[in-house]
């Protein structure tokens, strides 16, 4: 393997300028440029996904001396270097003169090469970049990302924007309603179903720090733990003012209606579990597992071998979790709400209908529309395409 050759060089780490008059680009120089280009070749050879971008992301993450901060977006600078290499304008990288501290000619230490090499091995095995690096940008946040939780996708960023638009209107309506009363408008209540990394809920809490209170839930313990970690990471130590501790439960379980009267003991437990939950959400948002099971075999290895199956597959038509949500919506979104600031515990009517936004499979909007055709409580509002032009988002209204 090409890059191992570089190890056989000098043993010391503080590499002074190599005065070999070799003009071969892949020679014994251990500079950023040579390692970068060699590793791209390697990734291509081993059929790793997205060889160029992978190299840039992983390598820049290692080069903390050049790119000390996450926000430096070092990967973009490495990407430009690669582009120049393609256009064959990077002759000066071969000079033996030390041009000082510019990127391509910067020497790379052995440790850095070792770390990079282990990352490359993982990528060759098709592991997602977000898992290897451990965090990624999402909307207006940086989130920790760990297996098996689903890596947030760009479509979900768009979902956040659409929900945010509705939330803005809600905040305004609540403010208007509270004019003249002694209390200020209450916070908008959001429920993030299947929170995963916590992406959606945390992004919304970050956008509207004083105006929303987010509850969330997931069936995975890993997801619950990661969401808490991200809430703290993004929103700060007092995140519970905006973001409640996620519940470990399924959509089906999140209810107070007990159909099974035989198991009275369990009933009481469940009663305890959700005793403090105010089933009066204004916004229910979800990126539920929505891939139809027959599509699961078409997925690429980096998705299907690493990310949680349960976070991806939504049953035969992909709508299992969506159906569960639809069933629960009327109970979750009761219209007569408590005013958080009203100590008398009075209830006032919500000045807008509750909404449910979901990211779904392209095949789903039509199916959901017919699913709701005879539903008295939940109304299909619209579907919206994502930036690639595919049907991706649905909006439902919960009638009081």
């Amino acid at each position: 393997m090409g890059y191992h050759d570089d190890h056989q060089d000098d043993d010391d780490d503080d590499d002074s300028t190599n005065n070999n008059s070799s003009t071969n680009r892949t020679s014994k120089k251990r500079n950023v440029f040579s390692i970068l280009t060699t590793s791209v070749d390697l990734l291509k050879e081993c059929k790793a996904p997205e060889p160029e971008m992978s190299a840039c992301h992983l390598f820049s993450h290692v080069l903390l001396n050049l790119f000390p901060r996450w926000e430096d977006n070092g990967f973009a600078i490495l990407a430009k270097i690669l582009q120049e290499e393609e256009q064959d304008t990077a002759d000066w990288y071969n000079d033996d003169d030390d041009h000082g501290n510019h990127v391509g000619n910067t020497q790379v230490t052995r440790e850095q090469v070792d770390i990079y090499a282990s990352m490359l091995e993982r990528r060759i095995k098709k592991e997602p970049l977000q898992y290897i690096i451990g965090q990624w940008d999402f909307h207006n946040c940086v989130l920790k990302v760990r297996p098996p939780c689903l890596c947030p996708r760009p479509e979900t960023e768009e979902l956040v924007e659409y929900v945010a638009k509705d939330i803005r209107q809600m905040i305004e309506l609540l403010r208007i309603k509270s004019v003249g009363s002694s209390t200020c408008g209450r916070k908008v209540r959001i429920l993030d179903v299947g929170c995963g990394t916590g992406a959606i809920g945390i992004a919304l809490a970050n956008m509207f720090p004083k105006d929303v209170i987010v509850s969330s839930m997931d069936v995975s313990e890993d997801a619950v733990a990661l969401s808490v970690e991200n809430a703290k990471f993004v929103l700060g130590d007092d995140f519970t003012l905006q973001y409640h501790h996620p519940l470990l439960c399924s959509v089906r379980e999140y209810t107070r209606t007990h159909l099974n009267k035989e198991e009275e003991e369990e009933e009481e437990e469940e009663e305890d579990r959700f005793a403090n939950c105010l089933f009066e959400y204004d916004v229910v948002v979800s990126n539920p597992p929505y891939i139809p099971s027959h599509d699961m075999s078409t997925l690429t290895a980096d998705v299907v071998e690493y990310e949680d199956y349960g976070a991806l597959c939504g049953g035969q038509d992909g709508l299992d979790v969506v159906r569960d949500i639809v069933e629960r919506l009327p109970e979750w979104c009761k219209g007569n709400h408590h005013d958080d600031n009203d100590t008398k515990g009075q209830r006032t009517k919500r000045p807008f209908p509750a909404v449910c936004w979901m990211e779904v499979d392209t095949s789903h909007p039509r199916l959901i529309q017919s699913l709701l055709a005879n539903n008295k409580h939940v109304e299909y509002n619209c579907e919206i395409q994502d930036l690639s032009g595919m049907d991706r988002f649905v909006k439902l209204l919960v009638k009081d």
Binding site: K80, W92, H102, V103, Q130, D137, P154, Y290, D361
Partner: protein, 466 residues
Amino acid sequence: MYATIAFRLQHAHSGNLRISYPVRLFVSFQNNLQPVTKNTKLGKPTCIQPPFNVFSNATPAFFTTTSTPIITKLETVLSPSIAQRVRDMSRQHDEIMESLISTASAHNNVNTKELSVLAPVSKLFQEFSAIVEEIDAIRELEKQAKELKDEDMILECKQEIEEMSERLESLGKKMIDAVLPKNEDDYSSDAVLEIRAGTGGDEACLFCSELMGAYENVAKVMGWKFEILSVTKTDLGGIKEAAVSINSISGGYNTMGSEDEYNAPNLGPYGFFKFESGVHRVQRVPVNDVRIHTSAASVAVLPAPSESSSNKGELLPLSELKIETMRASGAGGQHVNTTDSAVRITHIPTGITASIQDERSQHNNRAKAIKLISARVRDQQQAQEAKMRGEARNALLGGGDRSERIRTYNFPQDRITDHRCKQSEYGIGKMFAGGFDGNLVSSFSPFLRDMERRELLADIERLGKK
């Protein structure tokens, strides 16, 4: 005989606009119409637009007075073309006001922007006319004093007239400013700067990076946000090309350069930086040589709609944009996990594009791309508008021919020379370092702004003579 009344009408209109609509009537003594003056003992006279159009060049037949009519007095302070423009704009303003009063408020589609441009002109014109009348009145007094041989009185009158004339002069200047066409972008738009290294290889790239640093310092000192949209760095930490956005925060404009009297708004980032457009030429001895090298960097300053300003409607409508991502083919969504989040936006009507790939998240790439394309589209719009107005789009009036060499930076002599206003400043390091006064932009902008005013004035003159 006609009754003699001078009074001031005030209209409260639709609760939002409060118009002070001064009214003035004429006195006719034996067919000799005279403007009501101080001596008529009815309080301070103010001006009204009589039923006939007193602002036309034709003098109504019966308007013969002993004092010189107001019409010609404007020309003592202003050129005929400017004077004409003042009158035209005043009349336009008054016409709009009249129509406001006569039509029901529900049917008004007042063009408040237009009105806000015309109102100062009208106000100044009224002030001007009022002072002219006062001068006339004092001249009368002077005449009487001369007959009575009252020396003290004569002196007093002369002093007053002198004072008044000075005020007329200063009003004249203000009228010129009020009458000049204003580029709205100067006040309400953010700026997008596109900096590119030109000839000179490494040296040019190094200079680009320094130039960008200088602009960042200026933005900082003005209290604006400096955000890099995209950057291509090359060797020695130089910059091959970069796109940068300078935003005013929360609608607050800086407080410098305020012309307070009639609350003229302050310049926004675009208006402030716009004169930087063009080619900056550098003469310097590079690190690894002894001879002087010449290199160049080109800067383009584009107006970008400000998120903080009230005119959010200026943002490009989404229906005109085609947004492309890397996820174009396949199922997308949960099916795929690609981290290539580059975004390219095309403005369909003009074909202008902008693509950004420097951010990890598609959301951030998209935000930056929208900013960039808005600026580019607005810039082209501006060029077309100027073209339609028949104005030569030179580097002075905001980023015309980008290949025009505007400045030379001579490092051995530590001097920067701006070729447009022909000014030279010394101390390149200090100018690059920032500071409120004496930074790279503020060292030259007063001269350039002056030149711009003169050019605009010259335009009006040219149009007036047609």
